[in-house]
Amino acid sequence: MNELSPLAASATIGCSDAPVLRERGQREVFCGLTGIVWLHRRIQDAFFLVVGSRTCAHLLQSAAGVMIFAEPRFATAIIDERDLAGLADANDELDRVVSKLIERRPEIKLLFLVGSCPSEVIKLDLSRAALRLTRRFAGEQRADLKVLSYSGSGIETTFTEGEDACLASLLPYLPATNDTAPSLLVVGTVAEIVEDQFRRIFSALGIDNVAFLPPRRAAEMPAVGPNTQFLLAQPFLANTVSALEQRGASRIAAPFPLGVEGARAWFEAAAKNFGIAKARCAEILEPLASRARDSLARHRVTLAGRRIFFFPDSQLEIPIARFLARELGMTLQEVGTPFLHREIMGEELALLPAGTFLSEGQDVERQLDRCRETAPDMVVCGMGLANPLEAEGYTTKWSIELVFTPVQGFDQAADLAELFARPLRRRALLKV
């Protein structure tokens, strides 16, 4: 564990060069398989087959809660003893399971073989299996069925990084384009309502050539080329960024579209890159920003001056902390994130209040000690910690909800604030 070097906070804004506490130890986080829970709903004709153990099946079932019975578009090929005995056999087994699955769900157009800890440790080569199966299906008049692979294992990925791995695996299969007209690609899963809002705003700004990754259907994969510029809607996409850049696309640096300020800066960055006049930009965005700012006022009453502590979970912590501090007046005790990508997070770090205590990684027991020492008004944490902390008298906001709720963009800024205000209001409300 590294010691924090004391920071002389000269400015009141900016953590670009701030020290970060890097901790290693027990981590209370989800693995990347959890990404399947929302990805299978986002891409409607995709199916996710985890190659793993009963633990993986159990995790998905627990995380997907009551959704599993709706014949979900994911399943687990559970490795058993016989598979562990020899690799060749495991590949035959996988082919058998996939055939059975495709028979059951003929409407599938995109099948992801998702690696897990057990499959990675025994070095089962799922990328070769995906190629083999794609070729086989092509021979069986199922050329419309693509098989891809990525790893959602806990040893390699944390929670939302599962989406990063999934999107990065799509990159080699995205059609190429040499269009000279610039196109905009928005990367990262957002709620459908948010996607529709974003399209409308881009269109009003005069940017009509917009695509989203991941798309809603396998057939709608966006094309990528040297004139593709992309904006990240989500912060956890480091590998997808590299893969897009390798295809010649370029990233538009921007903070994330969380809160009014974030959303505005995000659209402005795109507008600037597409040569849209500042005045035009302001004309479109100011009414939206103004309406959104007004809707934050009510929550500011509840949240201003409250001290908040973030346990690491999804990499959304820094942008959300920035929003809560700057737009709602909250005080940041500690902002923990599972992984901090300095370049992608650059614009966000520049906006964070100076002197913010940042931590990357986790030693959960030590972090709990720190949390209790600072006695924050609100703790943002996973569901393994939330109820135990509530029982100790802390108000918590369970963090997974931030991934499962439409929170991006102007019209969701108040909803995002409400997620944090609600537990505090509830605590004040209950008289038992």
Binding site: V29, V66, A75, D80, E81, V97, G154, G384
Partner: protein
């Protein structure tokens, strides 16, 4: 590899966690990759526990695999001991750690901690959650009980209650109910374990005169060992339902040397009268399909058949360890037991049996919902709604009250059923609608279920007539008619065939 959309049990280390979390003063160090901490949510969210499970996970990552995962494990054990100071420690591996073979047991023992350290060998690619719980409880009891000195028995008849765990279906209230019964009967409860017991309590187990195996899936192995080791006899009757509770009381009384005749005359459940009251007449011979863990499936079949007058048309379990017992129970109802952990098999069996009620797990709830069949949950796996705030045991006489309500509530109520038989074209209360006392429940789609499963040709008139039959008996009518037509060599089913079949099957 096994294609699994739903697993009835978690991996065995979840069973071990259920023991550690149920107890006090026990800590479990689990060698596991990052992400396996999802299991904490089972306890903090589904069971709504207000403390973290006493589990330290090593949460190794890929970068650790190149290094020394064994040292990582040893450090985790040492740190967990320092921080939590448990009275006993469990050490083991999850499925991924099993592959890297770090020998958690050996590593932990090398630390020479001043407490019992119990290594768990739980083969994650062969066995499942309940085995993990059973094996962990057994190892822990063996580690805490001293076998080299005779146990001092209490003067009054006393017993241990073995089996209740964390995340157990209704375990919390079953214990209260059974303790109350034993107290009234004059039997002292020496130790309840694993729930709320400490390692020091486990050491006192031999002081009781006999054991009660409340949940054989968890405690039978341990009770059998205690009998071999200390001559402690055990009662292995699941006291679910009025009759099973009576049998249980008689068996306990016999081991305690108590005459229970007066007690049995005085104690009863409302189920007895409720089931005999005339508004329960319509429940007679309602076909019911039962699936769950072995002890709950067997017990509920008896309740359904003997105490509510239902007809058991399907009985099965996912507990392979108790397949023999379930097969024997199924024979009572002239059935072939369904032993499977594949929910698609269960779904197919439910479809084929066409029950009016399904008693099962969380998964059967979903199957039943899809097929439009009333359903009640009677066994783990369960979700958050089956860890209710109110007192709701399944065991004992109060448990039987809960059972009566649970097993009758989802059914269409009697008068409504009569009216549906008479007037089938009401815009609101029609044959395909769900029971109105369940509010605006979604309308099941029996029409589509029927459409996709016609095996013979029906003419339009016969099909229309079939649709006039209320949905909860329509499937049976369809099957009977087709079976009769096949037997008689009828190629096209007409109106007459339908009524011929009806007459034939009511002989």
């Amino acid at each position: 590899m096994q294609l699994s959309l739903w697993t009835y049990e978690g991996p065995p280390h979840i069973g071990a966690m259920r023991i550690a979390t149920a107890m006090q003063g026990v800590h479990y160090v689990l060698h596991a990759p990052q992400g396996d901490t999802y299991a904490d949510l089972l306890f903090t969210m589904i069971e709504r526990r207000d403390v973290r499970p006493p589990v330290t996970y090593t949460t190794f990552q890929a970068r650790d695999l190149g290094g020394d995962t064994a040292t990582l494990f040893k450090t985790s054990v040492a740190d967990a001991y320092e921080r939590f100071k448990p009275e006993a420690m469990l050490v083991g591996a999850s499925c991924t750690a099993e592959l890297i073979q770090d020998d958690p047991g050996g590593l932990a023992l090398a630390l020479n901690l001043p407490i019992p350290v119990v290594p768990l060998e739980l083969p994650a690619y062969q066995r499942k959650e309940n085995y993990g719980a059973s094996e962990t409880f057994y190892r822990l009891v063996r580690a805490c009980v001293k076998t080299d000195q005779p146990a001092v028995k209490a003067s009054k008849p006393s017993c241990n209650i073995l089996g209740p765990t964390a995340l157990g279906f209704r375990h919390r209230d079953d214990i209260v109910e059974i303790k109350r019964l034993l107290e009234k009967l004059g039997v002292t409860v020496n130790v309840v374990a694993p729930a709320d017991a400490r390692p020091s309590d486990l050491a006192r187990i031999p002081q009781a005169h006999f054991n009660i195996v409340l949940y054989p899936e968890v405690a039978l192995t341990t009770a059998a060992w205690l009998e071999r080791q200390f001559g402690q006899k055990y009662v292995n009757i699941t006291p679910i339902g009025v009759n099973a509770t009576r049998d249980f009381i008689s068996a306990v009384a016999a081991l305690a040397g108590i005459d229970a005749a007066n007690f049995l005359r005085a104690e009863t459940s409302r189920l007895v009268w409720y089931s005999r009251s005339i508004d329960s007449t319509y429940l007679t011979a309602k076909p019911v399909f039962i699936f769950g863990d072995a002890s709950h499936a067997i017990a509920l079949a008896r309740v359904a058949a003997e105490e509510l007058g239902y007809q058991v048309v399907g009985l099965g379990t996912y507990s392979r360890e108790f397949a023999r017992e379930v097969r024997a129970a199924a024979k009572i109802y002239n059935l072939e037991a369904l032993i499977t952990d594949d929910y698609l098999d269960v779904e197919a069996a439910i479809k084929a049996a066409n029950p009016a009620l399904v008693l099962g797990t969380q998964m059967e709830r979903h199957i039943a919902k899809r097929l439009g069949i009333p359903c009640a949950v009677i066994s783990a796996p369960i979700h958050v709604q089956d860890f209710p705030a109110r007192y709701s045991p399944f065991m004992g006489f109060e448990g039987a009250n809960v059972l009566f309500d649970t097993l009758t509530h989802p059914m269409m109520m009697g008068l409504e059923e009569h009216l549906l038989g008479m007037f089938r074209e009401d815009f609101e209360f029609h044959g395909d609608a769900a029971a109105s006392h369940l509010g605006a429940a979604q309308t099941p789609a029996p029409a589509t279920v029927i459409a996709e499963t016609f095996t013979l040709a029906w003419d339009a008139e016969a099909e229309r007539e079939l649709r006039k039959i209320p949905f909860f008996v329509r499937g049976k009518a369809k099957r009977n008619t087709e079976a009769y037509a096949t037997q008689q060599g009828v190629a096209l089913i007409k109106l007459e065939t339908l009524y011929d079949a009806k007459a034939y099957y009511s002989q």
